[in-house]
Point group: C2
Chain length 159, copies 2
DNA sequence: TACGAAAGGTAGAATTTTCTACCGTAATAA
DNA sequence: TTATTACGGTAGAAAATTCTACCTTTCGTA
């Protein structure tokens, strides 16, 4: 991970660091993968937004914020930007008496999403070859347990 | 993780999301833990910097950047800021003919670090109770394998 | 009933982080 | 010898993200 490895192994061998490192690695991967195989017109986070809207069409802005670990104000800006670029359309809709914005994927957005989705299926099948169902189950169990231990020390609230 | 759970389990059950979620969880944990038990005068990243300097006294700014997954310019600003606040002292030093800044922890910084280190030992011992040595080994193995699979798909370069 | 909290959303300021460009030295290779 | 690249570092602009405050409606409950 760092050139002069011997100098840092001590710092890098703990669990929390490894998780952090992997998450960062994954972020870099997503950026590069997307640039190479999907579209330069959209960021990885924006792709996740398309994914979420596709699967939960009435997902709200606040829910998207939680899903992406960002503030709801920020997500609002991203959505507006995506609308400006013609990837989605934001339609005001009433739920009861309260006005909610429903995000609708345009044909342009749908095309990007379809292409990306196909590519991600490819990754998924590669992962399936490398990790058995039991491995994945155990892996996720470890992650959950790690969070539970942290949560037992202080009450963690995600923003 | 999100109130209306049923709506999102589908989106959240994949491996990459779980890792991302755990890393974010850990970040929130560090912030809250530090506020509560260590010191409000220093951020979690700054604590890692103190930790790194303590263990590798001649660590360079660029190396710190890689360790923390940030840009070297940004780390330079953080270090300057820490110097202004009296937590470290930056001394220009020559390595060969080239000038390098050596970061020295002041007594104030050392005190914060010692307190934090003691608290983190506590977390470590709790983790040791919940995860056996074999568990930790397996957990880290999973994480490494996950990165390797991604890396086989595109060549991932961390910034 | 009335009050406060929670949820959906926006605006603008403030902060954080990244992105270029630089400067100078060292090492390597054509 | 002369490029070229990598390393250590900085400055300033640009972009990303968060913070605060605000508006409106709903919901639970005292």
């Amino acid at each position: 991970m760092i050139k002069n490895i011997e100098r840092f192994t001590q710092l890098q061998e703990n669990l929390a660091y490894q998780i952090d490192y992997t998450a960062n690695f994954n972020r870099s991967f997503r950026r590069e993968f997307q640039m190479k195989y999907i579209s330069k017109d959209i960021s990885p986070d924006e792709f996740v937004i398309l994914y979420a809207i596709t699967n939960v069409p009435d997902i709200t802005q606040s829910e998207l914020a939680k899903l992406l670990f960002k503030g709801k104000a920020h997500i609002g800006k991203i959505l507006n930007d995506m609308e400006t670029r013609g990837i989605i359309k934001r339609a005001a809709e009433t739920r009861g008496n309260i006005i909610i914005k429903r995000n609708i994927i345009t044909p342009v957005g749908a095309e990007i999403y379809e292409k990306g989705n196909k590519e991600f299926q490819r990754i998924k099948s590669i992962m399936k070859k490398e990790f058995s169902d039991d491995d994945i189950k155990q892996f996720i169990l470890y992650l959950r347990k790690f969070r539970e231990v942290l949560n037992s020390i202080v009450d963690v609230k995600l923003k």
